[in-house]
């Protein structure tokens, strides 16, 4: 008898948890369109920047703009802004990992 009771309790806990997740946040269409406009603008800016001669700085600016664009895609399109913070932490950690691997590899090439 108490087996079925704890089963029911557990089921209820799981169900409420699922219902929590399904209190789903709906992103309005215009949010996406606004972000899209911004992304296209940033793209065009990054192209325009290459027309100005800034030497090696050009690439850093282009990459910086790419990073800004990525942030919008990640936070709005990929919903990170509205998800559990754990996902954001993981994404940042992965990007840092790739960055550190590139950095350490360059420690070889830069100082040969």
């Amino acid at each position: 008898m108490d087996i079925s009771l704890s089963l029911v309790l557990f089921d209820y806990l799981k169900l409420t948890e699922i219902m929590e997740n399904e209190k789903n946040h709906i992103v309005p269409y215009h949010t996406f369109l606004l972000v899209l406009a911004g992304l296209i603008a940033l793209t065009l800016i990054s192209v325009a920047v290459t027309k100005i001669y800034l030497g090696t700085l050009t690439v850093f600016i282009a990459l910086f703009i790419a990073a800004v664009k990525s942030t919008f895609v990640l936070r709005v399109f990929m919903h990170l802004k509205f998800e559990n913070r754990m996902f954001t932490v993981m994404v940042i950690a992965v990007m840092l990992l790739i960055g550190v691997v590139i950095f350490i590899t360059l420690l070889d090439y830069l100082f040969r």
């Binding site: 087996i3 704890s6 089963l7 557990f10 806990l13 992965v94 990992l97 550190v100 691997v101 350490i104 590899t105 420690l107 070889d108 090439y109 830069l110 100082f111 040969r112």
Partner: protein, 535 residues
Amino acid sequence: MVIQEGEREPSYLEYKGKHKGIFSWILSTDHKRIGLLYLFSILSMFAIGATLGLLMKFELIAPGKTIMDAQAYNAFFTLHGIVMIFAVVIPGLPAVFGNFLLPIMIGAKDVAFPKINLLSWYLYVTGVTLVVISQFAGTGPPDTGWTFYAPYSFRTTSTMLPAVFGAFVLGFSSILTGLNFLVTIHRMRAPGMTWFKMPLFPWTLYATAWIQLLATPIIGITLLMIVAERTLNIGFFDPSLGGDPLLYQHLFWTYSHPAVYIMILPAMGAISEIIPTFARKSIFGYKFMVVATLLIAFVGYFVWGHHMFTSGMSGTALYTFSLLTFLVAIPSAIKVFNWVSTMHKGSIDLQTPFYWAIAFIFVFMVGGFTGLILGSLAANVHLHNTHFVVSHFHFIVFGGTGFAFFGALHYWYPKITGKMYDTRWANIGLLLFFIGFIALYGPMLYLGVQGMPRRYFDYDEIFHAGNIISTMGSWVLYSGVAIIIINLFSSLKTGAKAPADPWGGKTLEWTIPSPPPVENFIETPVITKGPYDYK
């Protein structure tokens, strides 16, 4: 909780589902059956790899050609490496014991994605098949070593593509296992099992899964680049086209070093389960063990250059990698200290798994110390590519993962099979194994310091005596393995029936019948205490 006789659930071995016969195994999504599918495959591959090793050692019993020439020897050590690394020790503990025990130890019915779990096994079999095909197809078996170094790997006329693809597919299998375990641990722990109430074996599987997930793609892309070199002449690692062979080594080891932590972390986790049980005492410093596990996984990502000290890297890279290599040894040392401290003032029950655990600690330490020697830049210049290196990694991988695998096998055998094995034969096997192991790899330390190179089928007469001892050691080791395996198989038929908790363990797997029912738990456990609750 008392189970009435008439109410007994069928065990996962007896369970009759949709499929019959062999299909009830190879189409099963039950994590326990998949674990056994992996056990069968991995033991088979281990037998192949071990036989290759035995034959290699036989070649080395005397200078000059004994049973094979140089080209054959190259093919042998290549296949030995590919099989042992990619098909045995990397999948090893996670695929067998992780699959079988992880859900049970966290109070779950199965892993998060059971069908993907089965797919992982299919990918494993496919990868292994491709590797086997590489031996018989085309212009000759691969002869580059398991490390596939450029430019030889794209210039050699031996058949490389099946082996390279095989390794790629095996990597994908590993990635999916890691992904599955991560989601399982995040989402399916029983009520009350907070992160810090989770036992240490699942913790090590967790850290390992992150490495499987984040490191394996690097070797994936590197292997694809080798394919591009061989088929398209793309030039990434070809010096005549501007490529740098050293970049291949960077990319290769960026995976292959974290890979050794895939090998050792679950091994350490198994030891962390065995020792508390047979010391009748909670693990010493549980939180430190968790932090050490995560640190090993994290720092281990940044030490890969210690495989390349003599390759021509910059001085800055040399110092950085050497320093980080020394740092990554610290958490491992913490673990050894904590295992020994667990035993101190414990109530030791000397059983086979415990013997494996203390043997593990000994050989792991030899492996670890020799690793520190190799991590020292000046010593490395002398020792790189000698038998000292061969000894080091066999002590730490075969000694570490291998001993832990056999220890885990003897620890969880009653749970998995529902039978007890013959302890006397198990211990005889272990003793022969250990003696053979030391005789096989011990002399290599001296041979390496004396200057005997690795991957050579021939050697100078001054190395002869050490090699004779070493080869004889391989015979003793092999016979030990044979006794162990035969004992475990024969005990399936003749062994005594195993109770739910033959050893007095406190983790969740010991609260369910041996062997377990299909859904593991009749009612979902609710956790209120830590995992090693010995009072």
